[in-house]
């Protein structure tokens, strides 16, 4: 009985990043509880970047690609846009992993900032020029800022969770 409980706990911990990614994609987690205004952040970006950097086997590229498809459906975007954006985030994380000898949170976060700036720029370009969707740029800049700032917090939480069972 105790063994079963431990197994279940281990399984939940093992799939935690994947569950969190799909939860945030389906929920489009933007922290708009109680109308805090512009306080919104992109949790999928943080999850994808962190786990692609630290442990790419934890969430497969195919599953991230599929989560992008679900995100497009949830938000009503043209199919394939979010998948492409998520894959660019993985590309940045993979490149950083390949060139890094001594990991450092500040260096990681700097590349993360470049990655989300690039991803959001590409996203805006595709949506506005290819699909003629009008965009509120101010909201996107606010989203990028909060996503970047919260990367430190989430990276710390994920760092703490890693030795437990992930």
């Amino acid at each position: 009985m105790v063994q079963k409980k431990i197994n279940l706990k281990n399984k939940v911990l093992k799939y935690f990043p994947l569950i969190l990614l799909y939860f945030s994609v389906l929920n489009e987690f933007d922290f708009d509880v109680a109308n805090i205004g512009l306080l919104s952040f992109n949790l999928p970006f943080i999850i994808i970047f962190y786990w692609s950097l630290k442990d790419p086997d934890q969430i497969g590229n195919g599953l991230i690609f599929f989560s992008g498809i679900l995100n497009d459906v949830t938000l009503g975007y043209p199919i394939g846009v979010s998948s492409f954006i998520y894959l660019t985030i993985i590309a940045f994380a993979s490149y950083l992993r390949n060139i890094t000898l001594r990991p450092n949170i500040y260096k990681d976060s700097l590349v993360f900032l470049v990655a989300i700036l690039f991803a959001n720029s590409v996203n805006s370009l595709i949506l506005s020029f290819v699909f003629s969707i009008e965009i509120n740029y101010f909201e996107i800049i606010a989203n990028i800022t909060f996503t970047f700032l919260l990367y430190f917090l989430f990276a710390r939480i994920f760092n703490y969770l890693k030795p437990i069972g992930l």
Partner: protein
């Protein structure tokens, strides 16, 4: 120098092509596949349409379930905030009821007169009874303000039908699946509605601002509007029935801003209506 460039190329190549034992697909293959999907989406390829409809059906239901806890937290906060404002609101409502009772008498007279005049002009607007629908998901994304409704083509929903809340316009159907549909909200940047502003009967276009209010655009250069002028649909273009209230002008938010009558972030149930205008 050459070594640095080689290192860069090796790192990039490794990032795009290398896959570990547990990875099924290389990054490059998936990127190419997603570009193909975007390209086909842009061309409105039939296969993509069916794929999207299929995924929509499942995803909307799951997404509604996943969003349930957050929705409940929001509802609880709003409940408590309403509770603490109850007394003040009650006093205001009493004053409003008095005013409305007076207006109601005028309204009945004007409605009958309007009917009679339309018969003379020969315009016959047929409005469906309306289908009550529950809002499954009301998350507004950074790029699109829309809601998912639990009624689809099997209930007779069609693209272009209007979405109302308490008889106020809130949006229009833009995507229909078998059991669900998506409506774009009037606050979305891509929403443009022909409107008339009363008093004065100024014809204009109401555009979404991406926030919780709209903006009057493409109107005459000088509009003499009161701060409480009411914005109604004008019926131009035939997409909307004329005279559906949308909101009132509120210059305190922004110049020519329209404060909507409905709170678009708190939609639970809406009415979907089709409008057919048959004129001579």
């Amino acid at each position: 120098m050459a070594s640095g460039r080689d290192d860069f190329i090796i790192a990039v190549r490794s990032a795009f092509l290398k896959k570990s034992n547990k990875q099924q697909f290389s990054l490059l293959a998936l990127i190419i596949f997603s570009i193909i999907l975007i390209f086909l989406s842009n061309l409105n390829f039939v296969g993509i349409k069916y794929l999207k409809t299929g995924i929509n059906e499942a995803t909307y239901r799951i997404s509604a379930l996943v969003s349930y806890p957050e929705k409940k937290i929001n509802d609880t906060i709003i409940f408590f905030s309403d509770y603490f404002n109850a007394y003040k609101e009650n006093q205001n409502l009493k004053i409003k009821i008095d005013k409305l009772n007076n207006n109601n008498l005028n309204y009945i007279y004007l409605e009958n007169e309007n009917k009679r005049l339309k018969e003379i002009v020969g315009e016959n607007t047929s409005i469906s009874e309306g289908i009550i629908s529950r809002v499954l998901i009301d998350k507004d994304g950074k790029f699109l303000k829309s809601i998912i409704l639990n009624k689809g083509s099997k209930d007779g929903i069609k693209i272009g039908m209007v979405v109302l809340e308490k008889n106020y316009l809130v949006g229009q159907i833009i995507e229909v699946n078998y059991t669900t549909s998506r409506a774009i909200l009037i606050s979305d940047l891509n929403s443009n509605i022909p409107v008339v502003i009363e008093p004065g009967s100024f014809q204009s276009i109401l555009s979404g601002s991406g926030k919780d209010y709209g903006l009057i655009k493409y109107s005459k250069k000088e509009l003499n509007l009161d701060d409480n002028s009411i914005v109604y649909t004008s019926g131009s273009g035939g997409n909307f029935r004329a005279g559906v209230p949308i909101g009132k002008i509120n210059d305190q938010i922004e110049n020519l801003a329209v404060q909507f009558f409905s709170d678009l972030s708190q939609l639970s149930y809406v009415k979907i209506q089709s409008i057919e205008v048959k004129g001579d």
